[in-house]
C-alpha cells in the first residue's frame, strides 16, 4: 500500500533501503477483526466509480455544456430541477457516492504520504470531519429545499 513494506518494523523507523515483502505475503496476523475492510473499500471504489461515471458525467454535461451551460444556472433553474424527485434522487445519490469515494481516495493518499503516525491520524480526522459535514449539509439542503424561500 505504502512506499514502504507493511511490516511491524516500518511503523517506527523508516528503513535506509526499501524493504518489500514477497508478493502475497500475509500482513501481520490474518484478519484480526473478522471483517476485511480494505477489500470492501476496494470493491466500493469500483462499484461507486462505475455509477459515478454516469452520474457525474451526466451532471457535467447538463450543467456545463448543454443549452448555454453554466450561464443559465440560477436559483430558479435549481428550483425547476429539484421540483422533480428524479433529479433530487440523482443529486442525493451523486453526493453520497462522490463524497464517500473521494474520502476513501484521500484516505489512501494520506496513508501513502503522511509518514508520521500523528500526522496521519490528524489528517484523517480532519478528512472524516469534513466528509460528515459535507454529507450532512448536502443531504439537509436536498431534503429541505424550499423554492418559495
Amino acid at each position: 500500500m505504502t512506499t514502504v513494506a507493511p511490516g511491524p518494523s516500518t511503523a517506527q523507523a523508516a528503513p535506509e533501503r526499501l524493504v518489500l515483502d514477497a508478493p502475497r505475503t500475509r500482513r501481520r496476523s490474518p484478519s484480526r477483526s473478522g471483517t476485511n475492510f480494505e477489500m470492501y473499500s476496494w470493491i466500493f471504489m469500483r462499484m461507486s466509480g462505475l455509477l459515478l461515471v454516469v452520474l457525474v458525467l451526466g451532471h457535467l454535461l447538463i450543467m456545463n455544456v448543454l443549452d448555454g451551460g453554466v450561464h443559465r444556472i440560477n436559483f430558479s433553474f435549481v428550483a425547476g430541477r429539484w421540483a422533480s424527485p428524479f433529479w433530487r434522487t440523482w443529486d442525493l445519490l451523486q453526493l453520497w457516492l462522490a463524497e464517500l469515494h473521494g474520502t476513501n481516495g484521500l484516505r489512501t493518499v494520506i496513508n501513502d504520504y503522511a509518514e508520521r503516525d500523528g500526522t496521519r491520524f490528524w489528517l484523517k480526522m480532519l478528512l472524516y470531519t469534513s466528509a460528515v459535514l459535507v454529507l450532512m449539509l448536502g443531504t439537509l439542503v436536498i431534503f429541505t429545499f424550499d423554492p418559495s424561500i
Partner: protein
C-alpha cells in the same frame, strides 16, 4: 490501486540508488494523473456543496455565488475541472478493465492512450460549448 503499477518485487532491480517503486512510463503516469485529478475533484466537491447550500439561505446569495462561476477565469477553470473529471472517469474504467478483464493488464498501455485520446476528442467540442458565451461576451458579439 493503492500502489503504482509496475511496482517491483525487490529494490535491487531499481536503477535509482536507494530504491524506488516508481518506474515511469504509461502505467505510473496514468496512476499519478488519477491521484492528482482525484484530489483536485475532491476539493472542488467540498466547495461545490458549500456553494450549492446557499440555495437554503436565499436566492440572491445563491445567484451571487453562481455568477462567479460565469466569470471568464472561473469559466476556464471549469473546463479544466471537466477535463479532470473526464480523465478520472475514463481512467477509472481502465483500472476496472485491468482488474476484471483477463486481457486488461496486457492492454493497459493501449488503454492509457485510448483514455487520453478520448479525453482530448471530447474536450474539443466540450471546451467550445463551455467557453462560447464567455468568449462572445469578451469580444462583444453576444448580448
Amino acid at each position: 490501486m493503492a500502489s503504482p503499477p509496475g511496482t517491483v518485487g525487490t529494490a535491487r532491480t531499481s536503477r535509482t540508488p536507494g530504491g524506488t517503486l516508481y518506474r515511469g512510463r504509461e502505467g505510473m503516469w496514468s496512476w499519478v494523473a488519477h491521484r492528482v485529478t482525484g484530489v483536485l475533484i475532491f476539493f472542488f466537491l467540498f466547495a461545490h456543496v458549500l456553494d450549492t447550500a446557499l440555495v437554503r439561505v436565499s436566492p440572491d446569495d445563491y445567484n451571487r455565488i453562481i455568477d462567479t462561476y460565469k466569470t471568464p477565469v472561473v469559466n476556464l477553470m471549469e473546463v479544466g475541472l471537466t477535463g479532470a473529471v473526464l480523465y478520472h472517469a475514463l481512467n477509472g474504467l481502465r483500472v476496472m478493465a485491468i482488474d476484471f478483464w483477463e486481457k486488461g493488464p496486457r492492454y493497459q498501455k493501449q488503454m492509457t492512450y485510448a483514455v487520453v485520446t478520448v479525453v482530448g476528442l471530447v474536450m474539443i467540442p466540450g471546451t467550445y460549448f463551455m467557453l462560447e458565451r464567455t468568449v462572445k461576451q469578451m469580444f462583444g458579439t453576444a448580448s
